[in-house]
Amino acid sequence: MSEFPGEFIPEKLLYRGAEAELWLGTWLNMKVVLKKRIKKGYRVRELDDELIKSRTLKEASLLYEAKKAGIKAPYVLHVNPVKGWLIMTFVEGKSLTEVIQEENEELLSKVGRDIYLMHSSKIYHGDLTPSNIIVVNHEPYFIDFGLGEKVSDIEKFAEDLNVLQKSLQSKLGESYYKKWKAIVNGYITQGGETSREIIDRLNEINKRGRYKQRKKGE
């Protein structure tokens, strides 16, 4: 049986991943999402407790930092690091995956701008797929910082972009190019010289990939 924080009334399970469950429900009359980290029986108790605690705290603090950097993300309402519970406001919208075909370049440019704001605050998202970007009234919201980290290595920021680029490529096929260009434009307009360095690194990562593929065919 699932255990829940007091006052939380579960409505439905949104998602069950390897690491956490995501529940939609109400808490103090607010529509919220509860992220519950799953205890792992294969890990010794002390190690599991420690990982759940530190990861819950880290995610809460990254969400806070992201908002401080000026990007839209869920508000953290309640944290219980011992239980591994994180209650956040529910971002009600459609994922970028669903709306990207009909959305204009302005939204994509905002996506790029916000990713740069995140990176300039040394936040590496860690799983920057289009399904982790929610669009509400043509504004992007960023969710799931569970694999994120505070870093200053531009390689990590380029990795973030690479993840987004690759998933757009596989989802959109040839039509991805225009969409991706709008995102990159937003990123560079916001970040100037520093953002160009990161884009250069991204291109380098892409070349590494091609080199690998060419080698396979030898």
């Binding site: 991943g17 390897a18 690491e19 792992k40 029986g41 294969y42 890990r43 010794v44 002390e46 190690l47 420690e50 990982l51 860690g126 799983d127 694999l147 396979k216």
Partner: protein
């Protein structure tokens, strides 16, 4: 009935086996090179392999009760591995193939570990956790290739255990000694735990554990090292299973002989409603049977090579191999 002769000499192990086309292992003999001190020395190991070659082959032949005339194909481990060791096995395979006029098959060592895992575990569509002295990869079959979804960003988990054992003055092989010491460990010492998506990194864990030698009891260190590194492996593996929506897990490679790792794998699978498919320990570590079995499959798909083209491939990548079956 087709019978295959397999020769494995990638690293420490010189293994020879006879396997038939039903997947029955008729014999599986090995001789393991043990360094007097330090890690493996490729030339010393290959010297050992040349010395024991004929004796191991004879023993395997006797146990299998086969005559060379009955053998359909000679398979050898072509790589990846240590050049001098690989060449020892290749030399024996070529000699046998030429003398008895048998077709020759070059087998990818990593593919062979997974294929014997398939055969012995009865898995249909698993995620593989391939863990040995030189490899740490999370692999699954996509179309006609084995694809690596996650791997170590630095050293292999077997290397972590061996290197720590050496630093602690434990004689080779370090893995089993650490497993036994860990059973008496009580205190969990905090060591770096680094998982990035489906990848892991062990070098920081090794350095931290080595620094504590002499300061903490060896039992507690062995216990903490195992608990930390194996939990990292299973977290990355579970993520791969969730991502690929696979319900079976098979471990391959020498570290799979570790009881604690298999116990943790079983628990992880039970908790997510998946199945951990175990099989006899002799097929986890390097062995001739995996080469014979994989070689036989390749032979059935016409994948033979001439002696002239049979040079070993030290950096033979698993995704370079097409898997037609």
């Amino acid at each position: 009935m087709l019978i295959s002769l397999g020769i494995e000499t990638t690293a420490h192990t010189f293994g020879v086996a006879f396997v038939n086309d039903k997947g029955e292992v008729l014999s599986n003999v090995k001789s393991v090179y043990t360094p007097k001190e330090g890690g493996i020395h490729p030339r010393e190991a290959s010297k050992h392999h040349y010395e024991v070659a004929v004796g191991v082959l004879r023993k395997a032949k006797e146990e299998a009760k086969v005559k060379m005339e009955d053998v359909a194909v000679v398979a050898f481990s072509r790589g990846p591995g240590l050049g001098p060791c690989l060449r020892a096995g290749a030399t024996l395979a070529r000699a046998v193939a030429l003398k008895f006029k048998k077709p020759l098959v070059g087998v990818n060592h990593a593919v062979a570990h997974l294929e014997i895992g398939y055969l012995k575990s009865g898995a249909r569509d698993p995620v593989f956790l391939y863990v040995s002295g030189g490899n740490t990869q999370i692999i699954s079959k996509v179309g006609d290739r084995y694809v690596v979804f996650g791997e170590t960003e630095d050293i292999a988990v077997g290397n972590l255990l061996d290197a720590f054992a050496r630093s602690a003055g434990l004689p080779f092989p370090g893995g089993p000694k650490i497993m036994n010491l860990a059973k008496n460990g009580k205190k969990l010492i905090k060591l770096p735990y680094v998982v990035k998506g489906m990848n892991v990194s062990f070098s920081g864990t090794l350095t931290a554990a080595e620094k504590l030698i002499g300061k903490e009891s060896i039992e507690d260190l062995a216990y903490s090292l195992q608990e930390t590194s194996f939990a990292m492996l299973l977290e990355a593996t579970e993520r791969a299973m969730a991502y690929l929506k696979k319900e079976e897990l098979v471990i391959a490679g020498g570290v799979g002989a570790n009881e604690r790792l298999r116990e943790m794998a079983r628990t992880m699978c039970e908790e997510r409603g998946a199945r951990f498919l175990d099989y006899p320990i002799e097929y986890y570590g390097d062995n001739g049977a995996m080469i014979a079995w994989t070689g036989l499959k390749q032979y059935l798909f016409g994948d033979t090579i001439s002696v002239e083209d049979s040079k070993v491939l030290v950096r033979f990548r698993i995704d370079d191999v097409r898997i037609p079956w």
